[in-house]
């Protein structure tokens, strides 16, 4: 019979209240998890587009999006593979600002975020509005590294991190839910870490 598993002494006895169930603190590291080849995107050609059920589809260039009001996030992120990174920071622009510019149709209920790589992920509008989501290009004061989605990624920190599409290229407004890359491959449709919504059916 094995010795029972124990909490390692190096890890604090008090579980950090910022950790959702089943998550552990990865400390200062920032693991990389991606299903596809890391793309090399040139900011000179980079664009971000909002289309679908909007009055006016809008496309921003790199310089144009940088000129929008800056917004920062300070807090925690949670990956479905069970690491969390606590007390980190990102800067960019609030998705509220982007959606306002395009004027979302009242019939829209969901967005699909899509990436320059073809990655997609779906979100109800309520999860990307009201100061809950950003397009970010800075991490802890530095330009966002390419392996973490640079030049810019979506940031939806209250959901598992696969919703925060790396190398984001746009948001499409829809009047229905359209499951994205991981959501059609066994992962949960919404991905709330506090409810441990890791896999379909959780």
């Amino acid at each position: 019979m094995a010795n029972p598993f124990r909490r390692p002494e190096s890890r604090s006895a008090e579980r950090d209240p910022r950790l959702p169930p089943g998550q552990y603190d990865t400390g200062s590291s920032f693991p990389v998890l991606t299903a596809e080849v890391t793309p090399r995107l040139d900011t000179a050609q980079w664009t971000f587009r909002i289309d679908g059920l909007v009055d006016e589809p809008v496309t921003w260039t790199w310089d144009e999006i940088q000129a929008l009001p800056r917004s920062t996030f300070d807090g925690d992120i949670h990956c479905v593979t069970t690491w969390s990174k606590l007390g980190t920071s990102f800067a960019g622009v609030s998705v509220d600002v982007l959606l306002d510019a395009a004027s979302v149709s009242p019939t829209a209920t969901h967005v699909v975020a899509w990436s320059h790589t073809g990655y997609t992920t779906n979100l109800p509008i309520a999860d990307v509005t009201g100061g809950k989501a950003w397009v970010v290009w800075e991490h802890e004061g530095q330009p966002l590294p390419v392996e973490h989605g640079g030049p810019a990624r979506l940031l939806v920190p209250h959901l598992y991190f696969w919703k925060s599409a790396k190398w984001v290229a746009g948001l499409r407004l829809l009047d229905h839910d359209e499951p994205g890359f991981w959501e059609t491959r066994g992962y949960h449709d919404r991905g709330d870490p506090w409810r441990e919504q890791r896999y379909a059916g959780d």
Binding site: P4, R7, E36, A200
Partner: protein, 253 residues
């Protein structure tokens, strides 16, 4: 603006595996250790007998959960190394990391007859269903899901071309050492066996280029550093970006 007039969004690849309708029966179940084999000084294979079984596709992983007497838990993902179709038994192959909470426990404490909790299988992208040629590129413990593919290829007598590239530091670090045949190219990055033709060094274009297979899906797995290097090499050699599937195990490189 109507949806019909919108340009289609780009796509990475078709859905190759959907979860069962109505949600998968993926509750936690007990896995009892029926065999432990040393692969290398830092790697062990654990053969588990699952109470309810689990039908996997090569490339998928299980979630393993350890629970302390005080209720504290830790869960990690481990790829399945065995081929599908071995009844209710599966094999995991775990590398012991320095101060690794879960890998350390599995290596130091777990014995035959002990049990742990597992859930899965999971993963619907880094999977090979046997219907396309496959180029498998693994670094260190990243060879685990690729071994499931190779074992399946052999056990099921699949005729699709398959090649495997395994990169490790030195001969002592090579898991599954007696299972490689002519489909496999071994890369030693620090030290080679005596009389080895290729000098020690990381995987390079000259080594990889002749191994490319037309129309193949490439599966790259390993540490972040290895996966990044190998996947960029494949693309630089002309492999279509959409044909390269990557699984990254974590922060170490």
């Amino acid at each position: 603006m109507t949806e019909a007039s919108l340009p289609p969004l780009p796509q990475i690849g078709p859905v190759t595996r959907r979860p069962p309708v109505g949600g998968p029966p993926r509750t936690w179940q007990t896995g009892t250790v029926v065999e432990i084999r040393d692969e290398t000084p830092r790697m062990k294979t654990f053969r588990l007998s699952l109470a309810e079984g689990a039908v996997h596709v090569p490339g998928q992983h299980l979630m393993v959960r350890l629970t302390a007497p005080d209720g504290y838990t830790a869960q990690r993902s481990y790829s399945i190394a065995s081929a599908p179709g071995e009844g209710s038994e599966v094999e995991l192959m775990v590398e012991r990391l320095v101060d690794g909470e879960v890998s350390g426990y599995l290596h130091d404490e777990l014995r035959v007859g002990d049990s742990l909790e597992v859930r899965g299988p999971f993963g619907g992208w880094f999977v090979w269903n046997g219907r396309s040629p496959a180029l498998l590129v693994g670094g260190g413990s990243g060879v685990v899901p690729l071994m499931s593919m190779l074992r399946h290829h052999r056990a099921a007598g699949i005729t699709q071309p398959m090649r495997l590239v395994v990169s490790v530091r030195s001969p002592e670090d090579l898991p599954f050492a007696d299972e490689y045949a002519e489909e496999t190219t071994l890369i030693f990055t620090r030290r080679t066996p005596d009389g080895w033709a290729r000098p020690a060094g990381r995987l390079d274009a000259a080594t990889l280029e002749p191994l490319l297979i037309d129309g193949a899906t490439a599966y790259v797995c390993g540490s972040t550093g290895f996966a990044e290097h190998a996947s960029q090499l494949l693309v630089s050699l002309g492999a279509p970006v959409g044909s390269v599937r990557v699984e990254r195990y974590g922060p170490t490189s």
